[in-house]
């Protein structure tokens, strides 16, 4: 339990909790960005540089911007009925609290109480790249194919259909 861990954990928890509770959706995405930056810093603190920088590039750089664009394009930022809380608020929160209680109980009883003092492992970017190019080269190709297919599919799904354009022109 170091000071840096507590600080980064507080930043992450504040950011993600604000992202799930704020009313304005644009504020939600901004708070989510803060939480994801805190999480990336936690990865760096754990010694996983490559994952930390990937987290910043993918989540802070791409996913948050994508969510912000989706909020703008669906006019969700305008406070209307669509932002209202649902009737599941109490039961959903209760389920989440129960899940956290079970997970925390399992963590407390399952892990050893002594602090493990291991030397920080060598997870340098060069080692990760070498492992990706030698041992994990087939999964890397498969994930590249999956990303290409997903991005082409996403573009096709989000594309404006000509039929929809005609009906909108008629209205």
């Amino acid at each position: 339990m170091t000071i840096s861990f507590l600080l980064l954990a507080a930043i992450t928890i504040i950011g993600t909790a604000a992202a799930m509770t704020l009313k304005n959706l644009v504020h939600c995405v901004l708070a989510l960005t803060l939480g994801l930056v805190g999480l990336a810093a936690l990865y760096l603190e754990l010694g996983a540089q490559f994952v930390g920088f990937t987290q910043i590039l993918v989540y802070v750089g791409a996913v948050a911007i994508l969510a912000a664009f989706a909020i703008m394009m669906t006019r969700s930022a305008i406070p209307t009925l669509s932002n209202a809380e649902s009737s599941f608020r109490a039961s959903g929160s209760l389920i989440a609290v129960l899940v956290f209680a079970v997970l925390a109980w399992a963590v407390y009883t399952g892990t050893s109480k002594q602090a493990i003092l291991l030397a920080p492992p060598e997870g340098s970017v060069a080692q990760v790249g070498s492992a990706l190019m030698h041992h994990f080269v087939l999964p890397l190709e498969v994930i590249g194919l999956l990303l290409t297919a997903a991005l082409v599919g996403a573009a096709i799904v989000a594309m404006d259909e000509p039929r929809a354009k005609q009906t909108r022109g008629r209205q």
Binding site: N83, P121, Q127, V157
Partner: protein, 103 residues
Amino acid sequence: MSPLTGYLLLSAFLFSIGLAGALTRRNAILVLIGIELMLNAANLNFIAFWRYGPHPEALTGVMFAIFSISVAAAEAAVGLSIILAVYRHSRTTNLDQLNSMKG
């Protein structure tokens, strides 16, 4: 409390926040963000177990986290484009109003 316990507790809390958001918020984009938070909590577990596990030189946890992040990115792109298509069709992203297939 050992460092591993701290990271696992933080990860469990992140998962619960994401679950609460996915269950209580009614905007489809926020539900998707909640699911992303749950995936992030799992990634934090992978990295924590890699750092404090017995064989960190194998880099298994790091590799799993990298592939998990790429799958999550693909999921976010496809999910947001589906939300855009649904919005174009029904003019709303409120999940309570998207009930035309309810029996």
